[in-house]
């Protein structure tokens, strides 16, 4: 899987911000919501079948998180740190290349 594009941001936030709580819940580091890994909310996870994918970018465009990036060949890559398992990508995929499966671990 391609590395999360947020990696540098996460490190910066954790270093500068840590557990600090500002009065008024003011967030001084832009984009710091990346430390909140929403993947933990997921019950069903999208399972991707590359053979069926026609690279139409529907999933990439419609993922609300967004937790889908594109690799060098423009195939979708799923970032399970942030994918909430909403199932929109699977529902919209015209070739049924994405299937929602219950996570077991």
């Amino acid at each position: 899987m391609a590395e999360s594009p947020f990696k540098a941001d996460i490190e910066k936030v954790q270093k500068e911000y840590g557990e600090k709580m500002t009065p008024g819940a003011i967030v001084y580091i832009p984009g710091s919501s990346v430390v909140n890994k929403t993947g933990g909310w997921r019950v069903f996870m999208p399972k991707f079948d590359k053979d069926k994918c026609i690279r139409c970018f529907m999933c990439y465009t419609l993922c609300p998180e967004p937790a889908i990036y594109l690799d060098e060949e423009s195939y979708p890559v799923f970032d399970y740190d942030y994918c909430k398992g909403c199932g929109i990508c699977a529902n919209e995929c015209p070739t049924k290349a994405i299937e929602m499966v219950r996570e077991t671990k």
Binding site: M21, P23, A25, Y28, N36
Partner: protein
């Protein structure tokens, strides 16, 4: 110092002028209207510089505009009454949660229906859990002094919370009385420009407000506000003392005690009705009653320690509530009784529901209450706990 004969509402307006308020957003409602009319007049006459007046379409919007303005670091003011205050309710939580020291004058007015424009404290007391400090003024002078102190206390780096200054409908808002105002230089020295916790105009250090607080964090943010409220007690006393030293009117006591030293019975209450009660105390004392008055100036934060010290030394406390919590009792009574429960101070306490919707409380009424309290203390038991004193039977 310039003395003027003015209404409580004009006293509030002059205080905002002397405090060099930078943004006012307000919506008119009786009996608050003449506060914001006067402020508009200051602007029209060119008497104030750097004051942005934002006309809005509702009180909810007024408070929203105040929150935005205060988040830029501006000294911000608004005023309202009754239904208008109720409409602001959601935004009141916002101002406190975002730690913005907006100052508001609420002119206590009875909640409808039936429609009423007269004095009643239930509107402001219904906002007690929003995180606003609450100061109840007895007279026009206290409205003026209260607004000036409100900015200094609310903006203090250890507080950063909004403050409500509360005055009575008509009894203060529209009644003219002598107000001893300060010179502009005196106010400038007492109340320097605000040093905000954060400012939306600080473009070099961008930030977000209105963030999400997950179950992992929300709890701590609430604790921070609770701590700031507790800290505010110290700041209130400090600022009140400084005000007294500089200008001769001391506000270091959060509960003002009037002739309570040797009193057996103390009348406790808030706001303008305590003026009548103090007058009654003088008259009753000349008739041989050992009575005193305790005027709760600050309802939030509540001066628990001061109440305890008072309660230890008296036999009975008659709590006069110009408000009521349906299904329970008078709100000040409810709080005071609760605070004393875990202490060794156990005076007899009785709740008199008085003056709702502007009904007058007279010196004669206070005498009747004193007689009733005397009987209760002699017997050592209450006739009833909650007394709808004025009820037509």
């Amino acid at each position: 110092m310039p003395k003027k004969v003015i209404s409580g509402n004009y006293a509030a307006a002059y205080a905002t002028k002397h405090a060099r308020v930078e943004v006012v957003a307000a919506y008119p409602i009786t009996p608050q209207t003449s506060i914001i009319e006067k402020i508009a007049e200051f602007i029209a006459n060119g008497e104030v510089e750097n004051l942005e007046y934002v006309p809005v379409e509702s009180e909810h919007s007024a408070m929203a505009a105040c929150i935005g303005a205060s988040a830029t670091g501006a000294r911000t003011f608004t005023a309202t009454s009754a239904q208008g205050l109720a409409l602001m309710h959601e935004m009141l939580h916002w101002a406190a949660g975002a730690r913005l020291p907006v100052v508001m004058v609420d002119v206590n007015r009875a909640m409808a229906p039936p429609w009423s424009v007269w004095d009643d404290q239930t509107d402001s007391l219904a906002q007690r859990d929003t995180g606003w400090l609450q100061f109840y003024a007895e007279n026009n002078q206290e409205v003026y002094d209260g607004v000036l102190m409100a900015f200094k206390i609310g903006e203090h780096e250890k507080v950063n919370l909004p403050v409500m200054i509360i005055e009575s409908a008509f009894i203060l808002s529209h009644t003219y009385d002598v107000v001893d105002m300060l010179e502009q230089e005196e106010v400038d020295e007492f109340l320097p420009p605000r040093k905000p916790l954060y400012s939306l105009t600080d473009f070099d250090n961008p930030f977000s407000i209105g963030a999400l607080g997950t179950p992992a964090d929300y709890y701590e943010f609430r604790y921070k506000i609770a701590k700031a409220m507790e800290e505010a007690k110290k700041i209130i006393k400090e600022v009140g003392k400084e005000f007294g030293e500089k200008f001769g009117r001391d506000y270091s006591q959060m509960i003002e005690l009037y002739k309570t030293d040797d009193a057996d019975i103390v009348f406790m209450g808030m706001g303008s009705l305590m003026g009548t009660v103090k007058e009654a105390v003088d008259i009753l004392r000349s008739e041989g009653y050992k009575v005193g008055a305790a005027k709760v100036r600050w309802f939030r934060p509540f001066p628990r320690e001061e109440l305890y010290e008072l309660a230890k030394s008296v036999q009975g406390i008659a709590v006069l509530d110009r408000n009521f919590s349906f299904g329970q009792e008078g709100i000040l009574f409810n709080e005071a009784k609760g605070i004393l429960y875990n202490t060794d101070a156990k005076p007899i306490m009785k709740n008199y529901i008085v003056g709702l919707g502007g009904r007058d409380l007279t010196v004669n009424d206070v005498r009747k209450i004193a007689n009733n309290m005397k009987k209760i203390i002699e017997k050592g038991e209450l006739d009833k706990e909650i007394d709808w004193y004025h009820l037509k039977r």
